[in-house]
Each structure stands twice: as structure tokens, then as C-alpha cells.
Symmetry: C2
Amino acid sequence: MTSSARPGQPSTRPGQLPDRLGYLLKHVQLRYAETSARALAPLGTDGREVAVLAVLATDTPLSQQEAAGQLGVDRTTMVALVDDLEAKSLAERVRSPADRRKNIIRLTASGRELLERAERVRLRTEREFLAPLPAPDARVLLAALRTLAAADD
Amino acid sequence: MTSSARPGQPSTRPGQLPDRLGYLLKHVQLRYAETSARALAPLGTDGREVAVLAVLATDTPLSQQEAAGQLGVDRTTMVALVDDLEAKSLAERVRSPADRRKNIIRLTASGRELLERAERVRLRTEREFLAPLPAPDARVLLAALRTLAAADD
DNA sequence: TATTGTTATACTCTATAACTATA
DNA sequence: TATAGTTATAGAGTATAACAATA
């Protein structure tokens, strides 16, 4: 691809696509998702699943709904995520003794093992993805994204 | 939020969600999409549609496939986008005289008018969305996103 | 009555395959 | 044969509504 969107004039014309925040966020996100998927494929997993594992890998195990809250997904969405983890023997549902409505999700040994390997891959992938940026800019980017992700406007 | 992910230790623990590039990109993108949708709703449009209008508002009108290429979507996806624009009388298909297989997409007067108003809303929305950031950081963020969106790894 | 997990269902977004009309 | 647009269809991803078990 050439694309070559000239950064020429301020232009009376409506901002070119690559100047739009919405377009940029969407496409960078897409590009990273692809990059990440390619890097994690050899481990038989993807960024989504690894994020779920990471959330569940706390000292105090979470119920499905608590995990859903941290992931920012609906509890009905969480069901399928846990189903998949269980099917791959990466985690298991345990009825909470304290409140028998709740499923406590426990990572299995292989779940923790996969998470550990995936985390190494993730760190490498992020580094490579950000490589086109000068290091200080990469740090500013990360900090800015953290700020914008948290902002509760 | 506190989070305070010290860049100190490599950390044995799996990075918290808000430290993950994938999570950050996804959630910032989602937040911006919501913000943008809310701002454009009074105009009866959304960021997606405005992006399509912006692409089509060139001096030399584009065919559907050319527009699809610039938007980064499939030509089959483009069909529905143009359908919607036509249904709202914002654009119209004109058979290309040069190559009768092609549809040239022409914006109507009201299409250009909507685009103009939407662009003002977009600029204001972007400014407000980035307001939590120091101005220099906002500029670095934009530049970094442009770099990462373009990088052809 | 309210909450947790579940299922069924639907909606959005997008792509692949196959058709048509042109070239 | 190849290309532009179209249609039908299917696959993610996610949410809403309703239900069972439990509180």
C-alpha cells in the first residue's frame, strides 16, 4: 500500500481521515489486535483470553460477575468466556460456599502457565508495536491512553 | 483511579488491565465512539457516516470501491454505507460514463451541509475529549497514533 | 424481592462466495 | 477473463429479556 496522505495544507476541506481521532483510534486498535493475535496464535490463545486470565489471576479469586465488571463486559458475555476457559482446562468454576449463587473462578495450573508465557509474548509484542515511536513519545502515549481510558466525563 | 503502575519492576504479576496496550486502545476507542455519537446525535448522524461523507467530499468524486479503499472497509460493506447515504439524500450514485461498471458517489447539497456542521462538532468533541491531557501530550498522542496507524509492519 | 448465573434471542459490524453487468 | 457493484449468508461480539437457584 502507498496511501501517502500528504500532510500539506490546513485545508478548508474536511479533515482527512488520518487526522481524525476516531479513525486513528479505531485503526490503531485494529492493527494492534491483529499483531497481538498473530503473536499469541502459536500459544493457542488470543489477547482477549489472556486479559481474562490476567484478571482472574489475583490472590483473591473473583466471581464471574466481579470478573465481568473488571473486564468491562456484561455478565452474560462472561459466561461464554468462562465456558471457553473451562473447555480448555485453563480455569474452573467453583460454587462459592459463602454465597451459593456465585461461581468462583479458579485458574488451573495450565491456566497460570499459559498466562505466564502469554505475558512474555505480550510485553515483546507491545515493545515491537511501539518501536516506530521515539521512546519518550511511547511513554507519553501510554500515559495519555491511561488518562483517557479512566476519564469519567 | 489509583493504579499507579510503577515502571519499576518487571513484576512477576501479570500486568494489570490498565497497563495493557490492547485494553487501553480498545477502551479509549470505545469511550471516544460514545462521546462522538452523543455529540453528533442531534444532527441525526454519527462518526462513521461523517467519515464516509468526508472521504467522498473530494474535488474528484470517488467510485464506491475507491471510497471503500480509503475507509479501509470491504466493497460489500461500502454498499450499505452508500445505501444509507442515499436513503437520507446525503449522496447519490451516478453511473460512471467512462466505465459503466462503476458508481460515482456524489454528495448532495444537504450532504455537504451536514458534513460542514458535523466537522465543527467533531473538532469541538475532539478538543473536549483530549482536554484532560496537557496540550503538548495531546499533540504527541495524535502524532503517535498517526505513526502507528500508518506503520506497515 | 433481589441477585447470580444461565439460556435464548437479537442486533451490529463485517467478511466470503456467488451473481450481474459491464469491460 | 477480470472488475464493480450487489445480494445472500455467516461469523464475531455483545446486549436484553426471561428463567432457575439462591439469598
